[in-house]
Symmetry: C2
């Protein structure tokens, strides 16, 4: 896919994927773009436009086949591949992520947890033995790692942002609340939990 797709479209695709999964679970086989638009709170024309970026999947007068569209969006998002994810920072957030069942359902397989705290290293978390950060280099040599989740404190994140790309790990899921200075070919997704709190505050203020 060489066409540049806007980031707003990319941001909506996981939402489509989730809603379609939900419809599938409820045994719904097809849906009109109007109904889909209603449950997703987006206009039907927005949905058509979004999907047309990838070829478009609906049929006039039929709507969308839920299972097919779910599979197609999964492919667009690369969810038909398995991604091995390591978690760096086995504190509360790292442990919480290690326990999210639906990551695995979507092809994200947590494969290891690392920490630098001798009190945590060696402990068992959801069936994983927390490994020492000193062993990360060897681990990455011997195992395929697609994504490193950064759940360590800010001050360690900067150091890890230097090491991780050297190990051939090309994607970082960053919870460390700091902008990382990374080589261009490393892909970063920053998660700022307080952004959603701030949006909530706006809605409270404006009664939305």
């Amino acid at each position: 896919m060489s066409k540049i797709i806007s980031s707003a479209v990319i941001r909506r695709m996981p939402r489509y994927y989730r809603y379609l999964a939900d419809l599938m679970e409820r045994g719904i086989e097809r849906i009109s773009s109007n109904e889909l638009s209603h449950i997703m709170n987006v206009t039907a024309s927005q949905i058509r436009q979004d999907l047309n970026n990838f070829g478009g999947f609906g049929q006039q007068g039929y709507g969308y086949n839920v299972k097919e569209l779910h599979a197609e969006i999964g492919k667009i998002l690369g969810l038909d591949n398995t991604h091995n994810v390591i978690i760096i920072g086995a504190g509360n957030l790292g442990k919480a992520l290690a326990g999210y069942v639906q990551f695995e359902k979507r092809g994200f397989k947590i494969t290891a947890l690392f920490d630098n705290d001798p009190k945590i290293v060696g402990k068992s978390v959801r069936g994983f033995t927390v490994q020492s950060i000193d062993d990360l280099r060897d681990y990455a040599k011997e195992n395929k790692v697609d994504i490193a989740a950064f759940t360590m404190p800010k001050e360690h994140a900067l150091k890890m942002a230097e090491l991780v790309p050297q190990l051939g790990i090309k994607a970082i899921w960053n919870f460390a609340n700091t902008e990382l200075d990374l080589p261009r070919d490393v892909i970063v997704e920053n998660v700022h939990l307080s952004d959603s709190l701030m949006q909530l505050s706006y809605k409270i203020l404006n009664g939305e």
Copy 2:
């Protein structure tokens, strides 16, 4: 503010706020819209448009006063108010949220943690004693609660979504990975951590 502001604009405001806070920390007093646009990776005209929704704050030839703009955006987001936040579900995620220092910096004050597990109730987490969910009703009568963070498993979230609005709590920060069926006047912000993983997967696939 009676004008309807699009959700895309609202989503960008916390980002502006964070970037401006970062500039302040670095001692930068003013910034041109071009520079701001460069660090934020948004066009300068987008920034002007976004801010014009709220009256616009830049001065031709001067740019933006970092501290003033930060304060103005804080007001737009309602961050000049203090919000009392309770956390329902004192598992790993609940504990992680209780420990986020920057929430408090932005006026979100964690005031209590609740859980239904007798093994967890009574334990201390970051200086809070985890309270029994059975005591939530009384707690809400005696204390101002602005936001309830839902960090419990999905199956309990549905039950809590019935209870919480009855207690006069008007905003839910929902991590429970399920759509909640709530009265219209309850404001919900859903956090889907796997959405950002799916976006990361898309970027890996497309080498962005």
